[in-house]
């Protein structure tokens, strides 16, 4: 795969230099470490929200730091967790006494480091930290049983968690309320993806897996984790139907429900194709009597230059609708209230 980079070793560092140079009014780094990004617009008394994870998923994670969404983010090398120390640096910076909520995806390395950071924040800095772990990928594990540990990976649906928790924090709700909102979103979001081509981690230098010229893999994770079915590339409508039905059956989403829809490009799939997918989603949902409240189409959580897309549904009630439609202004996600 051809890349516009200098050296694999400097890839993420230079990307981060670019981010700060491009958005000096919105984000800055702390602790002398480019991997620790915080908003320039700290709001006194507000619950701080931090996220983090490996690089290679822009606009995840750091693109959502800004007004109405997140306050800070630590990021690691490509597909690698940042360190607890880096998370702690972000945590210290964004806390303004109301505590900090961590929202991140369900990956082993991230969990360990966020847990450690939370412990250090408490032990060393006396900052109250709560955590919500997003695991929305229905292809990555059995349905979540109430009360049981969620074994599913977090993918694009985390956008909805950021959006609503961010809006709740912007309303100056206390930490436990912001956490409740984040958990409520997690319970109501489901995602499934499809991959058409692999991506190449620059340091590794070769594609992370192989897919024949006429194949796709339904359910593949954003780091190339195995999906649930590999097979011949199907027409768009058939792909959507296969993914959407599994999503709908999982929660399940029912006639009369109102949902937000997210069609997310993984990197190399044109927006045109995402809209072809959306068209089918719109048809299927309307046939099933599921109402679309609002739709988001574009790249929200990518996997470098992987071709493919994911679909997320988010079931709404009045509280969540109000939070979803609230304004947000970040480097990558901007929304006027609607």
């Amino acid at each position: 795969m051809k890349k516009i980079i200098n050296t694999p070793e400097k890839f993420i560092y230079e990307m981060l230099e670019g981010i700060y140079a491009a958005h000096p009014d919105m984000v800055k780094f702390v602790g002398d470490d480019l991997h620790c990004l915080v908003t320039t617009k700290k709001v006194p008394g507000k619950v701080g929200i931090a996220t983090g994870g490996g690089s290679g998923h822009l606009p995840l994670f750091l693109g959502y730091v800004g007004e109405g969404m997140l306050d800070g983010c630590s990021i690691g090398d490509v597909f690698q967790s940042p360190s607890a120390e880096q998370m702690l640096a972000v945590t210290k910076e964004i806390d303004s006494g109301a505590g900090v909520l961590y929202i991140y995806g369900n990956y082993g390395g991230d969990i360990l480091n966020f847990d450690m950071a939370a412990e250090m924040a408490d032990f060393e800095e006396n900052i109250h930290v709560e955590s919500v772990v997003a695991g929305d990928d229905v292809a990555s594990g059995a349905p979540v049983k109430p009360g049981a540990k969620n074994t599913r990976r977090g993918v694009a649906g985390i956008f909805f968690v950021y959006k609503c928790a961010g809006a709740a924090a912007a309303k100056m709700l206390p930490l436990e309320e912001v956490k409740r909102v984040a958990e409520k979103v997690c319970e109501n979001v489901r995602t499934m993806g499809v991959a058409l081509t692999p991506c190449t981690v620059p340091r590794v230098g070769h594609p992370s897996f192989e897919l024949a010229e006429d194949e796709m893999e339904i359910g593949m994770g954003i780091h190339g984790e195995p999906g649930i079915r590999r097979g011949k590339l199907l027409p768009a409508d058939a792909i959507v139907d296969e993914m959407l039905n599994q999503i709908i059956d999982d929660l399940p989403y029912r006639a009369g429900d109102e949902v937000a829809v997210l069609v997310n490009g993984l990197g190399a799939t044109p927006l045109e194709e995402q809209y072809v997918m959306f068209r089918r989603i719109d048809k299927v949902l309307s046939e099933k009597g599921i109402k679309i409240f609002h739709s988001y189409v574009g790249e929200y959580a990518t996997s470098l230059e992987m071709a493919g897309a994911s679909i997320s549904l988010f079931k709404l009630d009045d509280e969540l609708k109000e939070l979803l439609r609230a304004p947000a202004d970040t480097p990558f996600f901007k929304q006027f209230s609607y």
Partner: protein, 212 residues
């Protein structure tokens, strides 16, 4: 007895052991994971050792905590964070101790074990680092209660760790990348347990070197 100075040297020895076993760990991790374990353990223990090498601190707990934090900063991979958690847990448990007897060393490795378990939430039998360390800690506790020499106890703990490591063949991985393989993980040795094996072997070498 194990002094604060000994503790610093032990960590330094562990760093040397991990660097020397870089390719061995890479090879093990390449079958189940992403092949980074040799690099992260070498880098991680080296960073931990460097962080305390020149310290005048005599509090073993404080040394362990500092070493752990350095490790976590250097290598935020799974095992990096787990080893950091182990060391930081030792730090909290041994705060104020300036030297350790047999029981103190058993407490050290128990705290290390607990730190890893609290962080990673795995159980013995889940085919992880814990399966390497578990028998060693039990052995240290028994020997401490029986009044065995520290060198003898260390040797037996290393043997227990090695058995624990070998025993991971036959287990189904519940954590980490290997868990994705389910039943197909059974025939493989767990790389994290190999690290436990190396740590206890390193500790035994260090104690027998001291005894000479």
């Amino acid at each position: 007895m194990l002094s604060a100075n000994d503790f610093k040297k032990l960590i330094q020895h562990w760093a040397e052991v991990m660097v020397a076993n870089r390719d061995y760990l890479i090879e093990l991790d390449s079958h189940v994971g992403d092949s980074d374990l040799g690099l992260t353990m070498g880098d991680g223990f080296t960073a931990a050792s460097r962080a305390i090498a020149d310290s005048d601190e005599t509090d073993i707990g404080k040394l362990a905590y500092t070493a752990g934090k350095a490790m976590s900063t250097a290598v935020p991979s799974t095992m990096g964070t787990l080893m950091a958690s182990g060391l930081m847990s030792v730090g909290k448990a041994l705060r104020g101790k300036t030297e350790l007897d047999s029981q103190g060393v058993a407490d050290l490795f128990q705290a290390f074990f607990d730190g890893v378990q609290n962080r990673g939430k795995a159980q013995v039998g889940d085919k992880t680092f814990l399966d390497g360390l578990y028998g060693a800690v039990e052995s240290l506790k028994v020997d401490a209660a029986a009044g065995a020499s520290m060198t003898e106890a260390a040797k037996r703990a290393a043997e227990a760790a090695h058995r624990g490591f070998l025993g991971t063949k036959g287990m189904i991985a519940q954590f980490g990348r290997a868990a994705g393989r389910g039943e197909r993980s059974r025939d493989l040795l767990d790389p994290g347990a190999a690290v436990a094996d190396l740590l206890m072997k390193g500790y035994a070498e260090f104690m027998s070197g001291k005894a000479e």
